[in-house]
Amino acid sequence: MGLTHLFRGSRSGVVGFGLTAMLLLAAVFGPALVPTDPNLQSIANAYAPPSWAHPFGLDIYGRDTFARVIHGSRVSLFIGFVAVVFGGTLGTLIGALSALEGGRVDRFVVRATDILLSFPTLILSVIVIVALGNRFTNVVAAVSAAMLPKFVRYARGPTLAIREQDFVQSATALGAGKARIFFRHVLPSILGPVMVMAALWVGIAIRIEASLSFLGLGVQPPTPAWGTMLKEGVESMLFTAWLALFPGLAIMVTIFGLNLLGDWLRDVVDPYVMSLARRAEGEGAAETPGAAPAFSREELARMG
């Protein structure tokens, strides 16, 4: 299935993909294309408004806001992706293995997850930061910790269902060990949905990082971070709105793009929605379990 086919009918998917690709390109190549040192201060020119030389203006230290937004994208995206990879990998392993194991282990994991989920994600991150101190690696750990219980719960549910499937029962009867069942049967089945959720939660992870930075608990100065820039800008927003505007826009566009991309990925990977799509096009109604109503292309797009 080519990209053209996948995007057909999903303008939001195209927009999400485009925005995310643009951000990734900015994070990877931006610093090379914007040679201005994001930490170079010029106090005498502080608060300078946007100009050709400095399209996003200069901040309170006279640093180039455009360069800082571009360099800040690395921090945000890095923390967003790495935290989701860490939290996602660990959470998926814990959730799936706990469901496979069952019994006391599973009960313990469920209770522990419930406790962690009872904290709002930002609060959970703040607790981790306060406990460990706000160094860069600890910020990653804090955001990962906020992601972890979500993935545990998300992986555990489908694994419980898969565990009872005939093919898993057969494999068990044939003497397959838990490790083999996990890697051969469970993981491939849950990996797609987990990856879709991961794409959606990267945006949440970036938002948490920005919130931590906004609260002064994120990466340390002078490293550019969108949340920190937003906070500094807000303090003088009445007369230098651009200082808050551009990092704010960067956060908004990033989360918007990642959410759209995640939604689109979910539609692509979710077999139910895809079968509805194919049915709507008359390609494979027989694959749809049960009697699902036919949806129009417009309605399917709206579901996304």
Partner: protein
């Protein structure tokens, strides 16, 4: 059937909301003043209202509801220009070891607590010195040997040693506020935390954490019933919200902290608003921990001093900051002015010299240092500028922005080789020098104050000079001794003084104080019985 919101509906809705918002914004005059009610907003919350424990916000608020035996003149922060407050006269005897105060008669305390007497004064200071209370100001009063109350209106202090600055400790500032014991207050530790009983023009009637402190006028105030019937101290953290509230007339006065020039200018240009930026004795210095390497090497300390460009730090906050060349601000009695300091001790920006000193100290390839800093802008922002200055001479300074209490604790625990720290004190060189540079104020001692560098214990010592300043009452001699101490400190360089942030206040012109406001010792407008909101 079409669901959701169409583009036209969305645009209509947004247009309507925008118009409504604009109408609210442009509403002429805003909410307007409420005659007799003073609405003050600040981002700071008091840790306590009990003056034995209150610093900054709580201390300034106490100026509205409490009196000292003596006081700063209303609107003034000049300690050499004090006047009688609860005392109607005083005298000193026994070679400066005994001070006797005659109290005014008929001074009524708040909430019907009755007349204030010498027993209340005695109780106030004994309570302050009570170890169970752990007052941070107890150290100011350790020189008191005993308090005697020969009659209802006479209180006599017996001191262990002559104290030339004893009268300043009886002023309405940090520990000097007189409380009424009241009818129910028999527990030294708890009763006054949030419901203090004083004798000032306003009495505390409500405290709402994170929201407001409400004071109402004290009808029986001994100088006359205040014209303002209610003083509302509102806690509004966001400066933009405070400014908009002031411009719209929803607030009568606000705390500005240190504002960028453009915003300050826009406020000054407003025909309905007055801006006050009093001088300040705040001294911000980079304190070197003499117990830690490489700060035990004076060449490294000097290199750091020469690497820093004070002008850029001041420009960061201009015009609400000025450079600081001595460890005591010139606005405090005895603080050195620039012309009093020899060129060699000013440590003007000289990166070449800084590099040479580093090389001489064996750090030609540079240094790596780490520090923690509070998130408060006037502390955090200068350190970011200093970070760049140090990088230019090869010193990589890692800055950890941590929560205020962690910063305060860390700076007292020998965790960092250098710490940016500063503050206001009683505006006299003695208080600054004693608390920051006397060996008894070493942060490692039980008597600790804020001697972060351990100056006097390891390197240098000006203890005798400081003690002499405290002993004598001749101001001219005090200033001379303070100068000697400051020059010695600049030679030894346990700390590098770099700037004084100025804080601003703004009020609407319908507020009439009844005096000129120039007080550097407070963080809010202090009103008295003459003040009005028209």
């Amino acid at each position: 059937m079409r669901k959701g919101i169409g583009r036209r509906e969305f645009l209509k809705g947004m247009g309507g909301a925008g118009a409504a918002a604009a109408m609210g914004w442009l509403r002429p005059g805003g909410a307007g003043a409420v005659p007799g009610v003073f609405r003050w907003a600040s981002g700071s919350e008091a840790r306590a209202l009990d003056p034995a424990r209150a610093i900054t916000t709580g201390d300034s608020l106490a100026r509205c509801w409490a009196n000292g035996l003596l006081r700063f003149k209303p609107g003034s922060g000049d300690p050499s220009d004090f006047e009688l407050d609860l005392a109607e006269k005083w005298d000193s005897s026994n070679g400066g070891k005994t001070f006797t105060f005659q109290l005014r008669k008929g001074v009524q305390a708040h909430h019907g607590a009755g007349e204030l007497t010498s027993a209340d004064v005695k109780w106030t200071f004994e309570r302050l010195r009570d170890k169970r209370l752990t007052s941070i100001f107890a150290g100011r009063y350790t020189g008191i040997d005993g308090i005697e109350t020969p009659d209802r209106y006479t209180v006599r202090f017996h001191l262990k040693e002559p104290d030339g600055l004893f009268l300043t400790k009886m002023m309405n500032f940090r520990g000097g506020y007189i409380l009424s014991r009241g009818k129910a207050a028999d527990d030294v530790a708890t009763n006054y935390m949030w419901r203090p009983i004083g004798t000032g023009p306003f009495q505390v009637v409500a405290t709402k954490p994170k929201e407001a402190y409400i004071l109402e006028r004290h009808e029986k105030y001994f100088r006359g019933t205040p014209k303002i019937r209610r003083y509302e101290y509102l806690i509004i953290a966001d400066i933009n919200t405070r400014i908009l509230g002031l411009k719209r007339g929803e607030l009568d006065a606000i705390y500005l902290a240190t504002l960028p020039k453009r915003l300050l200018d826009s406020l000054k240009a407003d025909p309905n608003i007055n801006v006050d930026v009093p001088d300040s004795d705040y001294a911000a210095s980079l304190h070197f921990n003499l117990r830690m390497k490489p700060m035990d090497d004076i060449r490294v300390r000097q290199a750091i001093a020469y690497a820093i460009n004070r002008k850029e730090i001041v420009d960061l906050f201009a015009p609400m900051a000025r450079p600081l060349y001595s460890v005591v601000s010139p606005s405090a009695v005895g603080g050195l002015k620039l012309e009093d300091i020899p060129a060699g001790l000013r440590y003007e920006h000289n990166p070449g010299k800084a590099k040479a000193l580093l090389a001489e100290a064996g750090h030609k390839s540079g240094l790596r240092l780490e520090t923690a800093v509070s998130p408060l802008p006037h502390i955090q922002r200068p350190i970011q500028v200093i970070q760049q200055h140090l990088a230019q001479v090869g010193i990589q300074l890692k800055v950890n922005v941590v929560e205020q209490t962690i910063y305060l604790r860390g700076s007292r625990q020998d965790k960092y080789p250098l710490v940016s720290y500063g503050g206001k004190r009683f505006p006299h060189a003695y208080d600054h020098l004693f608390e920051w540079y006397h060996s008894k104020s070493d942060v490692n001692l039980p008597t600790r104050q804020t001697n972060i560098s351990h100056y006097g214990s390891l390197v240098g010592n000006v203890d005798k000079l400081i003690e002499e300043i405290g002993r004598i009452s001749d101001t001219k001699r005090q200033i001379e001794l303070a100068k000697q101490a400051q020059l010695q400190i600049l030679k030894d360089l346990p700390a590098y003084p770099f700037y004084t942030p100025l804080v601003g206040f703004a009020h609407r012109k319908n507020v009439k104080f009844g005096f000129k406001f120039e007080d550097q010792t407070v963080y809010q407008y202090v009103l008295d019985e003459r003040s009005e909101v028209l």
